[in-house]
Subunit: 218 residues, 2 copies
């Protein structure tokens, strides 16, 4: 043992958001070989003096401008053939951001794009697998944690929150049962404000008490 093989090390981040009722991930168009012009996850090489979480966060900021987001280690991918040049292990992460972050992103000139997870392009390396694992993890965390709140902006209605659940789970939920569950969460509170939109009754606005925290429930 001890210091035998040296290996390339990278972090890659699957950033989720919801746009137009679809679960989307943030992709970066590669410029260089291998996989030039392919879509990839934002990420890159880890310097020897930087921690993994810190590196994932920094690269995410540098490549996409996103910062201060919810970030969690997902899995490490290290098949010998996953990078055609050399052995590179990717320590992958997933992140969740509210819609409206990076609104500018769909400019045609941009090398960044939000892409629906159910309509991904062919991706560089094994990044398609990474997205797929992140998606499964996200869906299962919906059921036992408050991670869905990371998709919400500062203030939101319960219908908007319900729509997040429905989009990710891919099924309709009962409005009354949903509200019963969610109104018992201590991390959710009414703002006292109302959201008016369209020709209908306004909705109460809620906020998350400690926005950066994700609790395990039940």
């Amino acid at each position: 043992m001890d210091n035998g093989a040296l290996t390339g090390l990278a972090t890659d981040v699957v950033v989720f958001t919801i746009r137009a009722q679809r679960l989307c991930v943030l992709l970066v168009r590669r410029t260089r070989e291998p996989f030039a012009e392919h879509w990839a996850l934002p990420g890159g090489t880890v310097p020897a003096d930087e921690g993994l979480d810190a590196c994932a966060r920094r690269l995410l900021r540098e490549k996409t401008g996103l910062h201060g987001v919810y970030l969690e280690q997902l899995y490490s991918f290290g098949s010998p053939g996953r990078d055609p040049r050399a052995r590179v292990v990717s320590v992958s992460y997933f992140a969740v951001v509210p819609p409206g972050c990076l609104l500018s992103v769909t400019d045609h000139s941009s090398r960044l794009a939000w892409t629906a997870v159910d309509a991904l392009p062919v991706m560089a390396f094994d990044h398609g697998e990474i997205v797929s694992m992140a998606h499964r993890r996200l869906a299962s965390k919906l059921e036992y944690s408050t991670i869905a709140l990371q998709f919400m902006g500062e203030r939101f209605t319960l219908s908007e929150l319900q729509s997040v659940y429905e989009t990710i789970l891919g099924e309709q939920l009962d409005k009354r049962n949903f509200r019963k569950r969610v109104r018992n969460l201590p991390c959710l509170e009414e703002t006292g404000e109302w959201f008016r939109a369209g020709n209908h009754r306004p909705a109460r606005l809620f906020r998350v008490t400690r926005p950066s925290r994700v609790d395990i429930i039940k």
Copy 2:
């Protein structure tokens, strides 16, 4: 990006078993610096041409003789200072084996030892943290998967299985409720045999239908 820093890469495995009603992990005594004579997890450097799972499995077999065990990736640890020599990322795994594997292991001459998780020695590197995360993961997987069956030998009684749950969760369970739950599992079946021990009624012996499989339940 692209092939900048090269880093040491290792896998380490937290092997759990139950001995004498205590949850134990398998430790290896180091011979070399750093941390010579300290206890460490079985593991080592990943060669450039080997997958992570395969490497963890191989090193486990080489260092401890264990093979064919349940093995699952846990987390990757990569603080820059975790190895005093150089940056080394450890992709950690946890494994579960039935008691009776490696019975010889407590020989005084041996450099292997089963150690109760609630009485760990000071360990090499950040291996103490790794064990602690593995323990938390194991305890939470008890609740929503059939991982506890990986602790069982080929045939076992329901009381033995209940004792595994109690040991890991650190609390007593109700015998009737426990049996109600567990007898509904499709992966468990009666062998028709009986286990006689001590001056009391014999117990039915059960077996797992597909021993290598861990199901997610509920």
